[in-house]
């Protein structure tokens, strides 16, 4: 029946990686939700300068993009360490 296109070896780190993924996902969802909430409740403050001459919209928007990239690298580093440790 079904099965991966490439043969996969057993991965003992799956449940730990899943838990980590869910935690990081929930954290990012909170930060993303905060951005949407500001737009919803008090959009005027998006124009306030927060860092130097940059307004909140720019800092938060760029921040969400950069945060996703940084969290991706952290997640990969931790997952790789787990795989190396548990799949010896």
């Amino acid at each position: 029946m079904h099965g991966p296109a490439a043969k996969l070896s057993k991965d003992n780190a799956t449940s730990k990686k899943t838990r980590l993924g869910v935690i990081l996902f929930l954290f990012y969802t909170l930060v993303y939700g905060g951005f949407v909430l500001i737009g919803l409740v008090n959009p005027e403050i998006m124009g306030l300068h927060v860092i130097g001459a940059q307004n909140l919209a720019i800092v938060y928007g760029f921040g969400l993009i950069v945060l996703a990239i940084i969290m991706g690298f952290i997640y990969n580093a931790i997952c790789t360490r787990m795989e190396n440790r548990l799949n010896k």
Binding site: A6, L8, G21, G47, G52, A53, N55, A57, I65, G72
Partner: protein, 643 residues
């Protein structure tokens, strides 16, 4: 708009297409098995796959649509960039590895891994087909838009060219050549967008976009008894005036036998020249009062004021990336906003002076604050859009199938991270490209989609040619990926798995290629049919349908043990039907039917906030009601039980 066609543009375009076709010939000889056709044999390097992900994802909607939306509506277009990228977080942390572990060739395989259910095979195949076709339409429309300035061909020719090349690519080599086309195109798109951004920053801001930029007339107005009766400039003879939506007064004049349209200024002291298209009784269109061939319909978008260190200046000189954004807050930008004057069969684009501060924060497109006149439904619409963008990415079938082209879960994860880094970087560039297009006199008011490529033209024909060829390859690559996904849904999920047609490996590949041919022809027909339709609107629809139909099933399959095959099948059906029906009854669609927006029974354009929870509720209720069928699971892949 009339464009001058460049021989360089044509040569570079032909070289691109020739390279793509050459690649397809090369890989066609290597594709003999179903695994090769649908999943590139599962042996693509994660780095290549990551950039190919970016190539798949940065479709016409991202490069053409978002840049155009930012150029016209400032930061609100950038909200799409933020939402599209956030969607990858869901893909990385939740979906990537399980999808790789559960599936074989298609998203249906993964959903059905626990059940071997005919209902899942059928509904997931239909969902793949519906989402992919909705995603295909804007790509084809975008291709048509691109060839007009690039090759000087009509819109339909672009659609036919893209359709034919893509059918050839997919029907010959499948996922391998599609992957390498996406890799090359994704990499080039990011490199040349970076170069274009460097040009923008180096150029800074100026009040004079170029020596060819049209000087817009501003003339005095004569008002007697609150009615406009003439102009103070004898060259412009007053003909008539119209008031639209109680706020906007437009005036038609004549100069040298040619009509002009003006907008009455906010303080009623002057008339400001507007762009306009008038449709005559015989259907002929006049552009700024003359035939299209006279090329009197200008590209627009400029600044009317720049303040640096408290002093008004004509230009800033080169700016750093953060300085660019902060300086923009101290400018005034002249956007061109559309208004229909139905009584005069005329569409005008009037000068809409906008504070630079408003370009770099939300609010020009999505009304959110009370002071901007936002209603509660406007806010619900905003949340609904952000929800669909966040949840839609990891439910797009043509993105999900890319997890099967790599060798392991680790490779799936790493390629997703490469994709996030590449796409994230590109999305930051969209803000600069969009804002750059808004102030350098390059915008074609008839098609916001062309803002990015036309900005490149402002900096030179060479970079315009390359950027346009890449944009065209963008469409080629995305359409290829979509057609592989749909051909997989038809040949693998429906014919092979659902109908149980006994096919050997060669027949499976042949069925896939025939399906690709059929879907390609359908895409050409739809691309021609939907000419003029908003690209981003259709992509938004695809995201809403994907998030509603597919994501609840994926998440519950992974995280809720009581999920049943029936629950998944009914959830998919509910997600598709509710999202499509709500969009068909939305204000924007009502406007497209020629009806009043206010008459739309569903008051918002984005259905996700209703259709996604609805699909979840149906999944939970049906699963709970069909627990006795849960015993029919053939294999248990549930995560908790893999410990």
């Amino acid at each position: 708009m009339i464009y001058n066609v460049s021989i360089w543009a044509i040569l570079i375009f032909v070289a691109f297409v020739a390279t793509v076709l050459g690649l397809s010939f090369f890989f066609a000889r290597k594709t003999n098995s179903a695994a090769g056709y649908y999943a590139a044999g599962g042996n693509i390097h994660w780095g290549v796959n990551g950039i190919a992900f970016a190539g798949d994802y940065l479709s016409a909607a991202s490069f053409l649509g978002i840049c155009g939306m930012i150029a016209y509506s400032g930061y609100d277009g950038f909200l799409y960039s933020i939402g599209y990228l956030a969607g990858w977080v869901v893909a990385l942390f939740i979906v990537a590895e399980p999808m790789k572990r559960l599936g074989k060739y298609t998203f249906t395989d993964a959903l059905d891994a626990r059940f071997n259910s005919k209902a899942i095979k059928l509904t997931a195949a239909i969902s793949t087909l519906v989402v992919s076709v909705f995603y295909l339409i804007p790509q084809m429309v975008g291709a048509g838009d691109l060839v007009v300035p690039l090759l000087g061909l009509p819109h339909w020719a672009g659609v036919v060219i893209v359709g034919s090349i893509v059918i050839f690519i997919v029907a010959t080599a499948g996922m391998t050549s599609t992957t390498y086309v996406q890799f090359i195109k994704g990499a080039l798109l990011i490199i040349f967008s970076t170069i274009l951004t460097i040009y923008i920053l180096n150029n800074g801001f100026t009040l004079n976009p170029g020596k060819d930029y049209h000087k817009f007339a501003k003339i005095g107005v004569v008002i007697e008894d609150k009615a406009i009766t003439g102009t103070t400039d004898p060259e412009y003879v007053f003909k008539e005036s119209y008031t639209v939506a109680n706020d906007f007064t437009f005036v038609k004049t004549e100069k040298g036998g040619v009509d002009q349209w003006f907008k009455l200024s906010k303080d009623s002291s002057s008339l400001e020249e507007a762009l306009f298209i008038t449709t005559l009784e015989n259907g002929t269109k006049l552009y700024n009062g003359e035939p299209k061939s006279s090329a009197k319909f200008y590209q627009v978008g400029h600044m009317s004021k720049i303040v640096v260190d408290g002093v008004e200046v004509d230009e800033t000189g080169p700016l750093g990336p953060f300085e660019f954004l902060s300086t923009m807050e101290n400018t005034e930008i002249v956007r061109f906003t559309k208004k229909e004057i139905k009584a005069a069969a005329t569409t005008v684009w009037y000068q809409d002076v906008t504070d630079g501060k408003d370009m770099v924060k939300p609010g020009l497109l999505f009304k959110l604050s009370k002071s901007a006149g936002a209603t509660p439904w406007d806010r619900v619409n905003f949340v609904s859009l952000m929800l669909a963008l966040f949840l839609g990415t990891s439910a797009l079938p043509h993105i999900l199938i890319r997890y099967y082209t790599v060798s392991s879960q680790r490779a799936a994860r790493k390629s997703t991270i490469v994709a996030i880094a590449a796409i994230g970087f590109f999305y930051i560039l969209t803000l600069y490209m969009g804002l750059g297009a808004s102030v350098n006199g390059v915008m074609d008011v008839e098609s916001s989609n062309m803002s990015g490529p036309l900005l490149a033209k402002y900096f030179g024909i060479g970079i315009f040619s390359i950027i346009s060829a890449i944009a065209f390859a963008t469409v080629l690559g995305t359409v290829s990926g979509l057609i592989v996904a749909t051909s997989g849904a038809i040949a693998h999920d429906f014919m092979d798995k659902y109908l149980n047609m006994k096919m050997n490996d060669k027949q499976k590949v042949k069925a896939g290629k025939l399906a690709a041919f059929g879907v390609g022809l359908l895409a050409i027909a739809l691309g021609i049919l939907f000419k003029g339709m908003n690209v981003s609107f259709l992509v938004g629809l695809a995201f809403s349908v994907a998030a509603s139909a597919n994501l609840p099933s994926i998440l519950f399959l992974l995280f809720w043990k009581k999920t049943t095959a029936k629950g998944i099948a009914w959830s998919i059906v509910t997600g598709i039907l509710s999202s499509v029906i709500l969009i068909l009854f939305s204000p924007t669609m009502y406007e497209k039917y020629g009806l009043a927006k206010a008459a739309a029974p569903f008051p918002i354009d984005n259905p996700g906030i209703i259709s996604i929870p609805l699909a979840v509720i149906v999944l939970v209720v049906v699963s709970l009601l069909s627990q006795k069928h849960n015993a029919t699971k053939v294999e248990n892949y549930h995560l908790d039980e893999e410990k």
